[in-house]
Subunit: 305 residues, 2 copies
């Protein structure tokens, strides 16, 4: 087995053209900028508006990234869909391309489903993809999916498929849950990634392998720096700096705010575009966000062009 | 414009083979049985496990129904997906085939989205499908989708697209909401269908055009009979009879229970199969359900074979 992916990953925001089709050229450029900033590519996450993209659109974007020379060993695409057949198709495609892992939502239409039903979903995907290279990262984001992935389910999956169940992204925002997951599984070949850099330092101190965070789209270098220097004396101060920037984005709807910042610092206004049901920031919000960020000394070096 | 679809519709349960692929032959047979019992086909609803099917699987099943001679004028397929591009593709296909309407979920991944974002989703679908025949029925099922479709959104959509916004299915189970929707819009060319026959009589007395109900999968003739005879002296007694049968199913998870009943009365055990994340009834549940139904004198005439 190849070495597993670690460090800071970004659920890469997806650029759209005016007709709402994905803009491959800007997507490739953004991914290369992130990789140049030492940040891995959890493309097709919640912040990527992945579920607002058809499966074919996601497969095509992944193909185009690889064709453009972006290293699939730096990629952990989201591949968990409501339909088992979609999840299998997308996951098999990611594995075939050599992606480091697959970040997998549970099927999220039905609510209150049993652990048995969720186990069967993931088990079927493992069996049908049928590839030793498959590395699944279970995606726990109950406030959005409304379908939690609990510790008992992780335990059962890990026991049944120890070579394919590689870890989890915990986006619950609940440190107690992240800590319990780390305490239960870290060190067993199960890699835990908090879903926000807010928990990066605490996570690393408790055995996490990095983080997968929205804000890594806009603040990649600083977040990676803390990952690289977490044992240094400056770690607490660095964490406080990351939190300050994140808080500025969180005053607004996160996805439109990040896209607006990228539009501003890249010079490509089309970056602000989102697909429905999301709505871009209005002019007043946009101005307030950029003013806040500039006042904090924030910028996105190397993005222009 | 053709006359709009009315009466009792069933969110037709989807039969799977052992490998979880859809069983076209049993699907066609089930749809023909429902139509023979005067019930319309809201295929690809919540009870159809529609979101557990890929878009291509849904399009193929719809093609196969029409090819098998089932009248598309009796169909209101579910076509609302998380991805705008999927919704447009599936809806355009349904319109091209001549379906009476399209039952449309809001995009349901993101929670707490604005009415503006939901309006844009439906508006884009109307504009992109661009067909005067398109009849959209807005699907309000907040306990599952977690994304409600409120009265203000309906009003705005109806004003913007009076020829394409045809009605709603209200599956909230909240009679106050159904009544408020009827009071606000019934008679304006906007057709309200309660999402359960529990509200069939009350709905019809307040201007509803029928109902779209899970239980129409298993009890179609009796539900249609109340629809046809709702002004008769026996209406209250008929409603009570429908409620009794529905309550027997509701003692169990609804979709697996209905599939188990169809397996029993059709003689095809494979009907019990569900896709993950759902789980079929266990043997004890199945025996209890069938015993309850037989004791109530329930059967599914004409299904065997």
């Amino acid at each position: 087995m190849a070495q597993r992916i670690t460090g800071v990953l970004s659920p890469v925001v997806t650029p759209f053209k005016a007709d709402l089709s994905p803009d491959t050229e800007r997507f490739v450029r953004q991914c290369k900028w992130l990789v140049a900033n030492q940040v891995g590519l959890a493309v097709f996450g919640t912040n990527s508006e992945a579920n607002s993209l058809a499966v074919d659109e996601r497969m095509q974007l992944l193909d185009q990234l690889v064709e453009a020379g972006v290293d699939p060993a730096r990629m952990m695409p989201g591949t968990g869909c409501c339909a088992l057949t979609d999840s299998v198709r997308l996951t098999a495609h990611a594995v075939k391309l050599g992606c480091a892992g697959a970040l997998m939502l549970p099927p999220f239409y039905y609510k209150g489903v049993s652990d048995e039903g969720l186990f069967r979903n993931f088990a079927e995907i493992v069996e049908r993809v049928g590839d030793a290279r498959l590395q699944i990262y279970l995606y726990h984001i109950p406030q959005v999916s409304q379908v939690p992935i609990g510790l008992k389910l992780i335990e059962r999956l890990l026991k049944a498929y120890p070579k394919n169940i590689a870890g989890t992204k915990d986006s619950s925002g609940d440190w107690n849950n992240t800590k319990a997951t780390l305490d239960a599984f870290a060190g067993e070949g199960f890699d835990v990634f908090p879903g926000s850099e807010t928990f990066l330092l605490a996570g690393l101190r408790n055995g996490a392998k990095g983080c997968i965070s929205a804000t890594a789209n806009v603040n990649p270098a600083a977040i990676h720096k803390l990952y690289a220097e977490w044992t240094s004396d400056s770690a607490e101060r660095q964490q406080a700096g990351l939190d300050r920037i994140r808080n500025l984005f969180q005053k607004f709807p996160m996805i439109p705010a990040m896209k607006r910042a990228i539009a501003h610092w890249s010079g490509h206004v089309a970056w602000a575009t989102v697909r429905p049901p999301l709505v871009e920031l209005d002019a007043k919000q946009a101005a307030a966000l950029i003013a806040d960020l500039e006042q904090a000394g924030f910028s996105m070096p190397g993005l222009k062009g």
